[in-house]
Subunit: 639 residues, 2 copies
């Protein structure tokens, strides 16, 4: 009997002795970080709301109860039983019965009403039907990404259970090492922005954190090939943790599966879906630009299949000696500060990922309160001595001014924006300004991936700022559903109609004018000097956006039949700063200053040479913390 079998046997005995004698425990299994308990008495389990909670806290594990398949009602009967329990207002849109596990996935417009107070409705469902309910939200705006991911995971349930069982056994394997150390190896993202990738290693465990590309430098990828990364094979890595879905953190996650990785990816649910959206687009852009994509779309599906979604605050065993907890990072939907607790009180490392320290319209500010943290790996994008951003209120006022000026002269406003994050922030600004009559209520056209990204945001309101979430939940005032938002889904024809029509605002990708529908908008709206092009985000060196900002007014446009035409840009060009998803210098310093507890060491990464050096010396001088500005391919030992 392997040690894992032995452990499971012991676990089964403990559980059996903890539950009342009339509740049977037929099998205990690991599925990923969870312990799954099969019982012939799911109803009795469901009767006592505290039973599972007490069991979980006693075993210090996450526990899921599943009915033994032969005690289940037939799905047709169960459907009636379940629908009778759930209030009609919950808006159930789908019931999906899995007879192999006794689970029923309930898709509803208002998941909270399916769950009930402290899970009372869920328990009632089990008592009536014997089935174990799992609840997901029906996207308020239809999202093809979300439905594709959900459909795909449905068809891959068997393979996914195999993966989860394997992962579970690996997490609960016996600890072998008699040594103690904690190390971080930098595979990218040091003294540069891009190709985020780190290895956190102990004698027992090696965890890869992020695996991104470097925008604008396609050949500079993380140093995955070195021995301490994947040199000895992709499966020498125990787990992958993804802080958020931006491509500089996620683009090469699917590549790991091409290299043979078969382990878990821990991320939040929105990060999983956004990663799917963005990596598929990444492949698309690569092939449009005539580059060979580093992997096929099949690998994106593999990655999604291997995701184990965690919620903020869940303390999760991801290795025999490592617990992971995600906390809101305030940067984009699902972005997470990743906290690793190593050993039994041995050491704690937090990776900030990308953060925004203050509240924005979309998100609460980044969490910087932890039980313990000795070392922080910290983004430094705006860590430079003078990298202060315009105050958000001032920025919004300026944007409103710019829009009103444009409308006053009868022009249209075109805003190049990133699909994920920046666009939704602007949508909230514009929706409020119109509601409060600061600007006239005119159509706001969303082009490129913006609509789809917005749909994903509305699927996961729990990840949005408290009051925004509440508006969506309780008051049914989802601002993203406002009438003036229009999804451009009619192609070039619709764009030309809009361009010839009345005042309006256009948000379109790509955010740095490097391709995508924004090129069409320049073509249609560019010649009219009454129109305005408004940049709201950082334009990187070498991008068309940066060139236009700096005065170029002759720009190449791909014409009919592949010929390149030159377009003369007569429209006004404006830049309104202050909408960044990154903390500025003050935000980064404050994140550490108010951090509880204050870390002993900080590694400054994810910033250009000057930014990491400035932030590193700033933190050292102000707070007397030992700081480092690592290079790529270095290893730091902390214990």
């Amino acid at each position: 009997m392997s040690t894992v079998e032995k452990q499971l046997d012991d676990l089964k005995e403990t559980i059996a002795s903890e539950v009342p004698p009339d509740i049977s425990v037929t099998e205990v299994k690991y599925e990923g970080p969870e312990v799954v308990v099969y019982t012939r008495d799911p109803r009795k389990f469901a009767e006592d709301g505290d039973l599972v909670r007490n069991l979980a806290s006693k075993l210090r594990k996450r526990i899921t109860i599943r009915p033994d398949p032969d005690v289940l009602s037939a799905p047709e009967k169960a459907r009636e039983e379940i629908m009778a329990v759930i209030p009609e207002d919950a808006g159930v849109t789908d019931l999906d019965f899995h007879e192999d596990t006794g689970e029923v996935v309930i898709e509803a417009q208002k998941p909270g009403m399916v769950i009930g107070r402290h899970g009372s409705t869920l328990r009632e469902i089990t008592q009536e039907s014997g089935w174990t309910p799992e609840v997901v939200r029906t996207p308020p705006i239809e999202s093809s990404t979300v439905s594709n991911v959900r459909d795909f995971l449905k068809t891959e349930r068997d393979d996914r259970r195999r993966i989860l069982e394997k992962v579970g056994r690996q997490i609960h394997r016996e600890e072998m090492a008699d040594d103690e150390y904690v190390r971080i190896t930098t595979l990218g993202c040091c003294r540069e922005v891009g190709r985020a990738s780190f290895v956190l290693s102990t004698p027992e465990t090696r965890i890869l954190i992020d695996c991104g590309d470097k925008p604008g430098s396609e050949d500079e990828v993380p140093y995955l090939q070195v021995q301490e990364a994947l040199g000895a094979g992709a499966n020498t890595i125990d787990a992958v943790v993804l802080t958020h879905a931006h491509l500089d953190h996620s683009a090469l996650i699917p590549l790991l599966f091409k290299y043979g990785y078969d382990g878990p990816i821990y991320c939040t649910e929105p990060t999983r879906d956004l990663m799917g959206l963005l990596t598929l687009d990444y492949l698309d852009v690569a092939s449009k630009e005539g580059r060979t994509p580093p992997y096929e779309s099949e690998m994106v599906r593999e990655a999604i299949k291997h995701c184990i979604p965690l919620e903020y605050g869940d303390v999760t065993d991801i290795a025999p000696d490592v617990k992971l907890t995600f906390h809101n990072a305030g940067h984009i939907l699902g972005s997470a500060v990743s906290h690793f607790h190593i050993g039994d009180g041995l050491y704690n490392v937090a990776f900030s990922g990308d953060i925004h320290y203050e509240d924005t319209r979309l998100f609460n500010g980044a969490v910087n309160d932890f039980p313990r943290v000795e070392t922080l790996v910290m983004e430094s994008t705006y860590g430079g001595r003078n990298d202060y951003q315009t105050d958000r209120e001032d920025s919004e006022e300026r944007l409103i001014e710019v829009i009103n000026e444009t409308f006053d002269r009868g022009g249209k406003v075109v805003i190049p924006a990133f699909a994920v994050g920046r666009s939704q922030e602007l949508m909230l600004v514009l929706e409020e300004a119109m509601r409060e009559d600061k600007i006239p209520t005119v159509p706001i056209h969303l082009d490129g991936m913006i609509w789809e990204a917005t749909a994903i945001h509305t699927t996961y309101p729990e990840y949005l700022r408290d009051d925004l979430r509440d508006r969506i939940f309780h008051e049914d005032e989802n601002p993203f559903l406002a009438d003036q938002f229009n999804h451009i889904d009619g192609g070039e024809e619709e764009r030309m109609d809009v361009a010839e029509g009345d005042e309006c605002i256009v948000l379109s990708t790509s955010g740095m004018v490097t391709g995508g529908p924004i090129m069409s908008w320049l073509e249609h709206a560019g010649p009219d000097p009454d129109n305005r092009l408004v940049f709201v985000g950082y334009q990187a060196q070498g991008t068309m956006g940066r060139r236009i900002q700096s005065g170029w007014d002759e720009i190449p446009i791909g014409g009919e039949g592949g010929r390149t035409q030159r377009l003369t840009l007569n429209m006004d060009v404006e830049t309104v700063d202050g909408f960044s998803g990154h903390a500025d210098r003050a935000g980064l310093m404050n994140f550490v200053k108010t951090m509880n507890p204050r870390p002993e060491k900080v590694l400054c990464v994810h910033g250009d040479e000057r930014s990491v050096q400035d932030l590193s010396s700033g933190l050292y001088h102000d707070h007397n913390i030992r700081t480092f500005a690592p290079k790529n391919l270095e290893t730091f030992r902390f214990l």
Copy 2:
């Protein structure tokens, strides 16, 4: 055709075009770092002394010429031809013909006379016989280590050629990486003395430098198991470089072969032989102390078989992108400062190994003159702020005083000493003192491995200090052959005779009184208060030597039948400092101060926490060099 085959073909063509048309080139092969050229005209090659030299400098490779087997004289005939050429005074003791390669190994008491001025006699040998001569010295004192190693290498010639050919092909493989970096990973020896082991890595190549044990902490071994070391398999390492034979650098080299390593070990010839002696003794001690040795003696033979001996100053390709050069380190016989030239002028790293900066009686001071060095990895044993040693002249005077006092009262002098280095240094001091009548000429008894270690020293006089070498070479005044030296080879009986006899000096291992024949000497000489125990080397914490130094006079001695008896030590205990093989604080500082060129970065290793920190800050403050005091398991990137 593989790229190596293609290269060899090109090389053959180049060579054929460079030599006169009447000289045939039948085959060209790699053997380790050398290019071996087979010819049907070995005599013509031998006629022109410059031909091979010019070829070597043109190709920037080490070149060996070998006769095609079918143009050789028969060995019996060749023996006569060869002996007719070599002057009788050369003292040839063996001729060993290898028909497979056309080489004849000539063992002679005076190798210089077999070589002749600028190799003229060697060339004459080839002209007369067609054979390629290789010369080795007949040990002036018979050494079982040297003869065992030589006999073993004879029987393993076939396997050795296989190894060399494989190594040769690997060295000359095509470079694949398009990236550039130079890194050092610390596997041991950081903030501690012992388990020296480092990985030097480039995108192309990974080299292990040293692999030692930690004396007194048998379970603390280098971190070989991590991915960036041997985690992915022992053969992910391209080469092993051994700086010197001390066990804290060499003890676990044979273990690499147990792990499946099949590549080269670069070291000097005396380091190879001393490693054989010391690692076999290491196994012996382990089994005597009831520990399971980490490998079997078979693995020591494997290690010896894989040694590729280099001489000081030889610039040798050891990988497509790495050239290695050894320089005298002044520490023990064959010890080498190891200089790595990476890429074509890209970067240079020197590992000091253990060094002595000033001349000693045995060795010239360490070399610190290099074409280029950007980073130095530096020993720090005596790097502490106050680690100044007594001046060597004062130490010698004090030793002479102590000896004379003892003789004056009719006592004997017993000196625990390390077999390798310290003992030979003392032999030179004592031999001179007797020759100059500073002390009476009495027998000096050598016990334990000291005699054998001395024999190895006399086999390699080229590695000794200039004037000592010259005395051995030119004047036939080998001090180690002085009459008063007596090898204790009669066991306990001889020791008791000596102990009951007249005044004398005993040098015996172990140097820290942790076992070995010194225990018998304490038993026999200890009770007499007229005798003296003189410590001349560092006594580590926890050793019996340290306890005796600090006043213990009741010591446990293994008695008959395994019972432990207690022995009362009445003899005087003295300590005379200043004979260390390590540079002291001043020596370490001076090594860097006078180093040419001055390195940009210094990693201070091989010293306790205080020593490395003190040396690190000393070098920084005095010379404004960027210094580091690494921990084990860290990786530093230099480029």
